[in-house]
């Protein structure tokens, strides 16, 4: 085989650059903003990248100039001026300007939500998210999924139940740490509907990387309908495998840890499962939704999420696991 046949085909630079930059898009990218805060941060990033490029080019140009002996030919005074201006004054001014720009956007990012704004409290727990819609109207709790109205500022109250976590939806804004015994706040304002992804941005134990959540930004009327549906109790399946799964849910002690509103299950240790079947993922963004996902979670809990506090139920007969998964899938 000749050498020429091994070389990769030449790709025009603009196309290669576009393909490379397309990696910056997606549901979890600070460079593909879908919120006011993320827009400011993306601008800051590009200004910082531009400033860094200017400093780097200036340093590289000076290095070339020095290697070619230009400074020696220019004489001692010019050498000193080059060092003072190129090595100290210009970098100080560039960095000072970038620092001032970065600081100037901070007050806007840290502002309080206006009165009447949607308020959501989120508690980080190893390794899932307890989400509680505090207002408007009656509070409602769910888990590992946040839906937001487009164009509305939302204030998050953040807590931790165990260790340090950090709440981050890169497409919407900056991250905010969550501390045990202390509340922090974060204001986010989504600008367009879409599906996004949030993550824990502070190492919090062995399954830290499996602590994600789904974020869905909806138009306001659609959001109002969704929130009203979340407030309703679970639609308890009346027959078939799902109904039998409901009985197994009680018989196997699941109700001691999980709440399913509208049934006798009122445990508060684990995630609220009232509408678990309608969520976009299982186990904090770890498994796809549906019966197969629930079945895998129940049987192989610690393979899916090492260190999870929930015991696995792999000892149950397969038909029981299938019934339990059918029950959870039916909770919508």
């Amino acid at each position: 085989m000749g050498l020429s046949s091994r070389t990769s085909p030449r790709v025009p630079a603009p196309i290669a650059c576009a393909a490379w930059l397309s990696g910056c898009a997606g549901p979890q990218s600070a460079l593909d903003p879908a919120g006011r805060g993320a827009e400011r941060l993306a601008e800051l990033f590009w200004w910082m990248a531009g400033g860094a490029a200017v400093v780097w080019l200036a340093v590289a140009a000076l290095a070339v100039y020095a290697v070619r002996g230009g400074a020696r030919r220019a004489g001692g005074g010019a050498q000193r001026a080059l060092i003072v201006w190129g090595g100290a004054v210009v970098p100080t001014l560039v960095l000072g300007a970038l620092l001032a720009y970065g600081l100037s956007i901070l007050p806007g990012l840290l502002a309080s939500a206006p009165p009447g704004a949607l308020r959501i409290s989120v508690t980080g727990e190893q390794w899932w998210w307890r989400v509680r819609y505090e207002s408007p109207g009656e509070a409602v709790e769910l888990a590992n999924e946040i839906r937001l109205p487009a164009g509305e500022p939302v204030e998050f109250t953040l807590r931790s139940a165990d260790v340090l976590h950090s709440f981050w939806i890169p497409s919407l804004g900056g991250k905010m740490d969550m501390f045990p015994g202390r509340e922090t706040r974060l204001l986010l304002e989504p600008t367009r509907p879409g599906r996004l992804r949030g993550v824990c941005a502070e190492y919090c134990g062995e399954s830290h990387a499996l602590m994600a959540f789904d974020v869905v930004v909806l138009e306001k009327p659609e959001f109002a309908r969704w929130l009203a549906a979340q407030r309703r109790p679970a639609a308890v399946p009346a027959g078939g495998a799902a109904a039998r799964g409901g009985e197994l849910f009680g018989a196997n002690g699941c109700a001691a840890c999980h709440t399913v509103r509208g049934t006798g299950a009122d445990g508060v240790v684990g995630p609220d499962l009232t509408h678990a079947g309608g969520r976009l993922s299982i186990a904090a963004g770890t498994l796809p939704p549906g019966r197969a996902g629930f079945g895998r979670w129940l049987a192989k809990t610690h393979e899916v999420k090492p260190g999870a506090l929930m015991p696995h139920f792999g000892m149950l007969p397969p038909e029981d696991l299938t019934a339990l998964a059918a029950y959870l899938e039916a909770l919508r």
Binding site: L95, G96, L99, A100, L106, L110, A111, R185
Partner: protein, 126 residues
């Protein structure tokens, strides 16, 4: 030849003074803001008294750094000895330490202004 330089036993303390002032300024600014917000103003309270304290600390720090930098500049402006090739005499060390003190003073002044910059933009404790 007898070396008459008075700086024969010169120490390095002055060299470290300007960075030490910057470090103390950095620490005191953060302590002032943290104590004010945690004990007096509350999580969203006004930062004005802490900003005034940071301004005063910054003026004091820059004045101290300027005095040290001026001393360093004077020492490095001494006329170089004739026929010095290795720059290893006490006077050479005197000049070198003066120049290093001056450069570190400039760096410390920039760092002090950068550290105080946050107080120029933040109006409350959030």
């Amino acid at each position: 030849m007898k070396n008459a330089a008075p700086e024969a036993d010169e120490s390095l303390w002055l060299l470290a003074a300007a960075p030490a002032i910057w470090a103390a300024h950095f620490l005191l600014c953060y302590v002032a803001a943290a104590v004010w917000c945690a004990k007096f103003a509350g999580p969203a309270g006004p930062l004005a008294p802490a900003r005034r304290a940071i301004l005063a600390l910054t003026v004091l720090a820059l004045a101290g750094i300027a005095v040290i930098g001026r001393g360093g500049w004077r020492r490095c402006r001494l006329p170089p000895p004739p026929l010095s090739r290795e720059f290893d005499t006490d006077e050479d060390r005197h000049r070198f330490l003066g120049f290093a003190t001056f450069l570190l003073s400039v760096l410390s002044a920039v760092a002090t202004v950068y550290a105080a910059g946050a107080a120029a933009f933040m109006r409350d404790c959030r």
